[in-house]
Symmetry: C2
Subunit: 430 residues, 2 copies
């Protein structure tokens, strides 16, 4: 029986495994987590709207009815293409075909300072650490007598005007306006500053111009200070330096300005293109290795002269193509080229407000928001998750509340600038 190894249980890896299930293959799906995480909703975990466990689902639970698919929880350390082996922390496994769907990680463009002092939003852990930090700044500010320090604690800088940055900036604004002002009687909504920095001259770059403008206007109505053509140069524990010299005192820098391929890509021993991505053939295989396929955020492929974006629909469609190509190749047939069908994009800005560009149609406001809710709810894995997320959303919506505003022990390493209190909590919590 032919052996297929799939690295990564994200959108692409899961879809590839599902497509190959029951096809008389020995499929091994490897991920370093035992769960699939629905990344598009991470920003709601970070802003206390959803519980981390609600947007994650155990991989083994998803695979119950996938014959021929096994799961291994391990970290892949190296891909040895000449020996056709994947070396993991749980031993080595050989393959006849390999699908690398290992995804992306936050791209700090090599700036170590930014990496150290900012919060990313790519994993469940990132989201929980950001939530704990955000909420801690308010606990700390409530007993801070120096108005300058208090203002820095109440300043949140989000970098990156893509969907993640827009959604997060809006969500922080709403968390403060509807929930935290009630929790902290001394706090006024206008004391809190949410600044969205974008290096180009627009937000939501891949959307039509009209939706970009609607997004901008809505963000400004909500009190988000959007600064276009503004790039970040450096950061420390209590400030952000902009290109041009301006300094923003803040204890919270959130980095949503880019994704790059995971570092595992290096072990393929290929020249990588921009963003640590792997250039693939039109059928998604490697030029010199027709049994290795790269899909999802890690793959670089152009269509109509433009690089395909690192988003879930691309990853899912690529996974299907790669899986089918393996089936075709293994039976001696020619492989098919990948063609992306762009069904559209959407982003939510806040309560009753989203923008959507679907099948060439533009929506905004409440209708777009309802469509966004529906599509995201249906995309969650697992009946239970859909129900509890729906209930949380309904609860948050009707009660203007976000009950998950808990500060748990999970902190970003080095996140001790909220000392003295939190340093101690961290040290003493087992």
């Amino acid at each position: 029986m032919q052996k297929v190894i799939i690295i990564g249980a994200g959108f692409a890896g899961l879809r590839a495994a599902k497509t190959l299930a029951g096809k008389n293959l020995d499929v091994l799906l490897i991920d370093q987590q035992n769960y699939h995480c629905f990344q598009p909703l991470l920003y709601q975990v970070a802003t206390a709207g959803l519980e981390p466990e609600q947007i994650a689902y155990p991989v083994r639970g998803i695979m119950h009815n996938w014959p021929g698919v096994r799961f291994l929880m391990a970290r892949v350390e190296h891909i040895d293409r000449s020996a056709k082996q994947v070396q993991t922390t749980m031993g080595s496994f050989s393959y006849d075909y390999l699908i690398v769907a290992a995804g992306g990680q936050t791209n700090y463009f090599g700036n170590r300072e930014l990496e150290q002092y900012s919060f990313g939003l790519k994993t469940l852990n990132d989201a929980e650490q950001l939530r704990n930090h955000l909420l801690s700044t308010f606990e700390r500010a409530a007993y801070e007598s120096d108005p300058k320090v208090r203002q820095a604690l109440h300043t949140f800088v989000v970098v990156g005007g893509g969907p993640t940055g827009v959604e997060l900036a809006g969500a922080i604004r709403e968390l403060v306006k509807h929930v935290l002002v009630r929790d902290f009687p001394q706090l006024e909504n206008r004391q809190v500053q949410v600044i969205l920095l974008e290096a180009t001259d627009k937000v939501l770059g891949m959307f039509p111009k009209r939706l970009q403008q609607k997004t901008l206007r809505r963000l400004e109505q909500m009190g988000v200070d959007v600064r276009l053509n503004t790039a970040v140069e450096g950061a420390s524990a209590d400030q952000v330096q902009l290109k041009g010299g301006e300094v923003i005192p803040t204890h919270t820098l959130i980095w949503a300005a880019g994704v790059q391929g995971v570092s595992l890509a290096q072990s393929l021993e290929l020249a990588l293109v921009r963003g640590n991505r792997v250039q693939v053939q039109p059928d998604l295989s490697l030029a010199d290795d027709p049994v290795v396929y790269i899909v999802g955020d890690l793959a670089y492929i152009e269509q109509a002269g433009k690089a395909l974006p690192q988003v879930a629909p691309v990853a899912i469609q690529q996974a299907v193509t790669a899986a089918k190509n393996i089936l075709q190749h293994s039976t001696g047939q020619a492989t098919s080229n990948f063609v992306y069908r762009d069904r559209g994009s959407m982003a939510t800005i806040g309560r009753n407000a989203a923008v959507a560009y679907i099948f060439g149609l533009q929506f905004w406001g409440f209708p777009a928001w309802v469509v966004w809710l529906f599509i995201h709810l249906m995309s969650l894995v697992g009946f239970r998750n859909r129900v509890v997320v729906l209930i949380n959303w309904a609860y948050n919506y009707f009660f203007y509340d976000q009950a998950i505003r808990l500060i748990t022990a999970n902190r970003k390493p080095g996140d001790v600038d909220l000392a003295p209190a939190l340093e101690h909590i961290q040290a003493t919590t087992k």
Copy 2:
């Protein structure tokens, strides 16, 4: 205005704050967490039945309508009774009256080895770390070729035959039987050993004899290996040593054998009684300090010649008495003595199975289980939590599933014996 400080936002601290709210007092409630945790359901978090966030509720959310009560998230480092000051990691605060409701922590009876190698179950963090560990043992065992190591990974030792130990042992058994055997096709229910060790000759010591026997029989039916009159002497990463010399190879030792008062008690500078508890006067104040009250797990008081147990109903009733005594004392009236009204106890063993001893009546089986569910659901703080817990319970019950079986990055320090895989995950997860 008189200042009251309450240390601890557990069952006792919250009830005390609520009783003192709106009484023209300046009340400061201090806790090192920003949430109240419903400890009786921690065992369900540990066994993947509930999400950590579902049994916790933000303290500030609870206090919205409590006039005169402020909250401080900080760790109390010292109580200076002579200066009437509480020193915290966020500064010092003075009081006219003090209620210490700081609760208990796991009691290892001074055995550092047991503390190092076992999992406690007193905090949300404990529960999440135990869940991550439990699930990891199965991921690790699935690729373990040495049958001895595999058996040790599949052996779970729970120490303590009180409600926590009984509930946890039953819940692990059911997690394996209904959920994990489907996740791991090679796994058989009978391969997994759950051993419940109890030093005395009975489980559920405070229950009537008939209910103890029903519990014992039910646990044995479920496949829990209950060993009475068995004490633990030592432990290491891969075994537990019993008194008498027997050694059980296991990677999981769970310590539910005792609670002691938190170490903060030392700063009261009093002789402490057994279990690090503070002997209080009949009105719950200190003998030499009538403005300091001790309530909950930290307080030691006898009734009808027996020490009151460290359970939520005692804590809640004591909080009301202490708060009322402060109101009486501050207006020059005599204080009242505490009288505990024991409404009963209950413990769940598994699906459709519980024991309850309420108002002198004994229930067991399905009726007791329904009563248990109802009472625990209603005791949760927050409408949202009740709804999502109910849905989770219904989902788990009807689908024989527990969807929270996620291994997150939160690990007990030193929990690396599941290496190599998990060590790496821990090291590389930010």
